[in-house]
């Protein structure tokens, strides 16, 4: 069941997910802990709060990268289950938090937590990504889905007040930068060449990304694999 304002229960972590057993929560935690990136992402936390002060999501949501680092460092299995089912989807993955003086990477921990959530088909990950089917479809098939002109500053308040100013004069700014790479791609998504695209398809199959999508949305998976397999066969 997705968490909504109606069923949100800020009581004890252990009471919040009565449907999941401790063993299940611990299994998910160990999957995160055993990720090869884990020991580079987490050393120890002395709760200084620098990651929270730098975190744009923390200003808008009930989200704290510190609590994530702390809960992981303490190996607090109950709290981590809270985090994997709720908190991680409020992270913008901007990695402002990597300025941690202990050299932790809370954003990286969120990355691992999200992957574990997806791989294990947690309902919360499906809910969180429900609105993104189209984005996933475009990115996976085309290697790209955004053209610079699609970026609406109003949608990204955490980019700060300068964005308005920049976006108003975007064409002028671009003309001021004589960069070949920007030519012809300001109003259309970047075209990924066929060789790169086929490599991407291969990587997505080999790296387990397609398995994650299958767990997330089976019909989307079918749609994607039909096209990809056909392209890969043609070579």
């Amino acid at each position: 069941m997705p968490t909504t304002s109606e069923n949100w229960n800020p009581g004890k972590a252990v009471d919040r997910h009565p449907e999941a057993t401790y063993e299940e929560k611990e299994r998910l935690f160990l999957e995160v802990k055993n990720d090869t990136r884990y020991e580079d992402f987490l050393y120890g936390c002395y709760e200084c709060g620098i990651c929270v002060s730098a975190c744009p999501s923390a200003r808008f949501y009930d989200f704290s990268p510190r609590v994530i680092a702390q809960a992981m460092a303490r190996e607090d299995v109950e709290r981590i289950y809270d985090i994997i089912t709720e908190d991680i989807w409020n992270c913008a993955q901007c990695f402002s938090c990597v300025r941690c003086p202990r050299q932790n990477n809370p954003g990286g921990l969120v990355t691992i937590l999200r992957e574990v959530s997806l791989k294990n088909g947690l309902q919360e990950s499906k809910d969180a990504l429900q609105g993104y089917s189209r984005v996933i479809y475009k990115v996976m098939l085309k290697g790209n889905q955004v053209s610079p002109d699609m970026l609406q500053p109003d949608f990204f308040p955490d980019w700060g007040p300068w964005v308005q100013n920049f976006s108003q004069n975007m064409q002028v700014w671009r003309k001021a930068i004589p960069m070949d790479s920007i030519r012809g791609v300001t109003d259309a998504a970047w075209r990924t060449d066929r060789k790169t695209l086929l490599e991407l398809y291969t990587i997505w199959f080999e790296s387990g990304n397609m398995d994650i999508i299958k767990e997330l949305d089976e019909s989307l998976y079918d749609l994607l694999t039909d096209v990809m397999n056909e392209e890969l066969e043609e070579g």
Partner: protein, 351 residues
Amino acid sequence: MTSGKVLIIGGGPSGLESARCVAELGGEAILIEKRERLGGTPDRENYAKLTHHWRDASEAMADMAAAVTSNKNVEVKYQAEVKGMSGSAGNFTVEIEAGGAAESLNVGAVIIATGFQHFDPGRATQYYNYYSFPDVITLTDLEKMLKEHKVVRPSNGEAPKKIAFIQCVGSRDRQIGNEYCSKVCCGIASKQAIELRQQLPDSKVMIFYIDMRMYGYWENEIYWPAQEKYKVNYVKGVVSEVLQKGDKLLMRGEDTTMSRPMEVTMDMVVLSVGMEPSAGTRAISQLLGVKQNQYGFIEAGGAGGLDPVATSQEGIFVAGAASGPADLDDSIAKAGLAAARALASVRKVMA
């Protein structure tokens, strides 16, 4: 008659270092020790490892004692106590009792190195029940267990699986009257937590604290390794009470940085007791007429505050934890300074 000799009261780390330095600087020292052996509190309270290169405390104290007993310019008197004193800087007459016999010493300067004692947790204002529950112990109790490599729950003789430290017991507490920080307990608790994890690798160790005061290299040498390598859990929040629950101890407190009240059960709870002036420090202050501060420690610092071994009496100096909470580095550094200052003082009078 003026004398060039320096009397050192107390045979712990700072007394030993004072005696060694006086002798090495070409002076003559008399060191008197109440017990029948040297080594002070680290020896008497069975300290396990020191934070200095993780050295065995007994070995380190034996080295310090040997440097004194092997020096012909130091006379050591055991089972000796000061009974009275008269005179002034350069010419003190000190009445002592050594091994049951009264003696009179003529010395030019005195160094007080009578140290501290650990806070008695029976006086704690929180409900930690040290004297009611056998599995509630102190840092010193645990130090002895670690030294013997036999960490067990006193209640049943089994190895504890979950152990918690409670910091600032008897320190930073207006209700008790000890508003000061005892300075070493954060480092010692963390050191012990590491030793616990080494001796009992299956154990879970938590430290409940107000602030972790891991100054200087303790941060990287003790605190970070405790967290990162030994997986010791630090929780910011003071525990208000320790209760019995079945054969476990129930702790109540707040997990402040997670914003939630907390109740956890433990097999063993270690109270990080702070420092208070020793009975010897209190008694000698009265006998020698040196000023004590409101906590009973000897007031040091001199008129300008930057004279850390000066007492209110000329010719009488203080070293180590007799003047306030101090770690071994502080104690030994002050001991060397006190030795230099004492010798300079007698030489000035003799000249």
